[in-house]
């Protein structure tokens, strides 16, 4: 296969087609709960993860399949998680919104908007205190900027100069609320700068721009210069979740943005600059589909935790934490 397509195109396609499969499986009721697709935003997780090291930490929100895949959590473990199986990356307890993988330093998966941000600051603080040269990457949507804890965390991170990289995926909507109705001023980088955090706006549809700017930012953070803030301009092509009738935006806007589909952009670049062919594309698709198929098989074949284990994972120190349950 075209080696250059391995870098960004393949990982993005993995995310895209994995999620399309998920939507299908949701229709079949194999996957339940809330399911938030990342379609349209793949360049961001892909570009960012491409420049992080295994020692770096990740915090994200509920729209987390893309981050999990790009980080290298095995696809089958992610799929098994969505199926609620023990083999899932969170043992089946978390589901789509709560993907975890300690070995990849992937700490979820919070379904409380903004809830992961201070946790990322704390993770980074632990690195600072232990003098480890790690970076914590903290993903969130632009909607999170309306939450107080976003601001508290910016201030704390800047004050203490912790090595955290704030990654705001500005897809212009928080559920049905357009950014103009969410924030009195919509420039996210300006908000970061008010805390003395250097900030940059990046085209979130261009995976190479994402990687390049993130790389520079990571370097600075790793060098001990404190937090950095990146705002990625992007768009979600699909509904907020599987229940969203999309009353709040019109089709033209969506199709306008789809012209800048990050996969198309990257594929065009591969064709223009790296001799990517239709054959490469076919090969790529086949590989990705095989992996997805295998992941579904793995998930289907997975085991359901016995109900007798229900009370586990409440306390690490054994038991349900109560001597008697009455």
């Amino acid at each position: 296969m075209n080696p250059e397509s391995r870098k960004f195109h393949h990982p993005m396609m993995r995310i895209r087609r994995f999620e399309e499969k998920c939507a299908e499986l949701y229709g079949e009721m194999k996957i339940r709960g809330f399911l938030h697709l990342y379609v349209g935003q793949e360049a961001i997780a892909t570009g960012v993860m491409s420049v992080l090291t295994p020692e770096d930490g990740i915090i994200t929100a509920y729209r987390d399949h893309g981050h999990a895949l790009a980080r290298g959590i095995p696809m089958r473990e992610i799929m098994a998680e969505m199926f609620g199986k023990s083999e899932g990356c969170s043992g089946g307890r978390g589901g789509s919104m709560h993907l975890f993988h300690r070995a990849s330093r992937f700490y979820g998966g919070s379904a409380i908007v903004g809830g992961g941000i201070p946790i990322a600051v704390g993770l980074a603080l632990s690195d600072l205190l232990c003098k480890r040269k790690r970076v914590t990457a903290c993903f969130f949507g632009e909607g999170a900027a309306a939450e107080g804890v976003f601001h508290e965390s910016m201030n704390l991170a800047a004050l203490w100069k912790v090595p955290v990289l704030f990654l705001c995926e500005n897809n212009r909507y928080a559920m049905g609320t357009a950014i103009e109705r969410e924030l009195s001023r919509v420039d996210l980088t300006e908000k970061a700068r008010t805390y003395g955090i250097p900030a940059l706006r990046v085209d979130g549809m261009d995976v190479r721009a994402v990687a390049a700017e993130t790389s520079r930012a990571v370097e600075q953070v790793r060098a001990g210069e404190g937090p950095f803030f990146l705002e990625f301009a992007t768009y979600r092509f699909r509904a907020h979740s599987m229940y969203d009738p999309e009353l709040y935006r019109n089709k033209e806007e969506v199709s306008e943005w789809k012209k800048r589909d990050p996969l198309l952009l990257e594929e065009q670049r591969l064709r223009d600059e790296f001799g990517f062919t239709d054959h490469d594309r076919m090969e790529l698709e086949r590989e990705v589909d095989r992996e997805i198929l295998e992941s579904v098989r793995f998930a289907e074949a997975g085991t359901l935790e016995p109900v007798s284990a229900l009370l586990s994972n409440v306390y690490k120190r054994g038991g349900a934490g109560w001597r008697t349950e009455g």
Binding site: G33, G95, V149, T177, D244
Partner: protein, 331 residues
């Protein structure tokens, strides 16, 4: 609409209640995340924006503390705000405003500043939404003096409670159970307020009282049917209000049956089930024929997989088993 009655879902009833409030009360308005353009996270407020406009159906930013606080301020300023908190877990972000402010202002001001605020909160588990979207905190909130806590279980209450709530001079929290949204019933076409204080006997019985509310009412009713088929006559009490608790109705039922099983989707330890059990123990010590039973959610954050979620939540089978044991072992 036969004989002045209409058939509608709990969701439609909630919407009809909010709509009626907005029609009757010019000072009322609704605010919350995605109540307007999105149509409400659970489609409860769909179409209200078109009817009442953006002044009265206010989409808020993701700022639970601020818009709840703004609700308090607007209430003090003479309005009748209805704040919607999309899911009960998010209410924790507004808890300082609710507990430290809404619940205390009347008291700290020596009676000057009452807070006629209504907060609608979606509660409960059952849709595999996992550990951050499935709590049942209504019983927990019921610990706080200064708040009134209600939980409509029926379609009629879903429509009628908000009419009383909006006229109440104190903060009223209405907990709407997610799993009831699709439940249907035939109710009077004429919209009437439902009181916020009294419990109701939803089914009469002689042998055991099943005391419950909200999303668990239908489990209790189903359990009562099963019990009937086994020769046990269960009475079902729908608490409706968790603060205040209607002790008179509860005690009256238990005095009659001599046995009580509380069914509560909240966690067992320190839940409202404990309070009800304690009160029954205190007041009906000599009347009780069996120890009070509790069927609650297991003490675990709600897991995602269906079989574990089901196992975590109170089930009809458990209610039946506990009630049966009470009757068989304690005659």
């Amino acid at each position: 609409m036969a004989n002045g009655r209409v058939r509608m879902t709990y969701r439609e009833a909630l919407r009809a209640g909010v709509r009626e409030v907005l029609l009757r009360e010019p000072l009322a308005f609704l605010m919350g995340e995605d109540v307007g353009r999105y149509g409400g996270s659970y489609a409860v407020t769909r179409d209200l924006l078109a009817e009442f406009g953006p002044e009265r159906i206010r989409d808020t930013p993701l700022s639970e503390a601020a818009f709840t606080g703004a609700g308090i301020g607007a209430a003090i300023g003479g309005m009748r705000p209805i704040v919607e908190i999309m899911t009960v877990n998010f209410s924790l972000l507004a808890l300082d405003q609710i507990v430290n402010h809404a619940a205390t202002l009347l008291h700290m001001s020596g009676g000057q500043c009452n807070v006629p605020l209504v907060i609608r909160i979606s509660t409960g588990a059952g849709r595999q939404l996992g550990a951050q979207h499935s709590h049942s905190f209504e019983g927990w909130f019921a610990h706080i003096p200064g708040l009134r806590i209600v939980a409509p279980a029926t379609v009629e209450d879903a429509r009628g409670m908000i009419l009383s709530a909006v006229r109440d001079p104190d903060p009223v929290l209405i907990f709407e159970h997610m799993m009831l949204l699709g439940a249907e019933d035939e109710i009077p076409a004429a919209i009437q307020a439902s009181d916020l204080d009294s419990a109701r006997i939803r089914r009469e019985g002689q042998d055991v009282s099943l005391i419950t509310y909200g999303g668990s009412l239908f489990k209790a009713l189903e359990a009562a049917r099963v019990l009937a088929s086994r020769g046990i006559s269960a009475e079902v009490v729908d608490l409706r209000s968790l603060r205040p608790l209607d002790d008179r109705t509860v005690f009256g039922s238990v005095r009659k049956t001599g046995r009580a099983v509380i069914v509560d989707e909240g966690w067992r330890s320190g839940g409202i089930s404990a309070e009800i059990s304690a009160r029954i123990g205190e007041h009906l010590f000599r009347n009780l024929r069996a120890p009070v039973g509790r069927v609650c959610t297991k003490e675990v954050p709600i897991p995602y997989p269906k079989h574990l979620e089901d196992e975590a939540l109170p089930s009809v089978a458990e209610v039946v088993a506990v009630a049966e044991e009470q009757v068989r072992l304690h005659v």
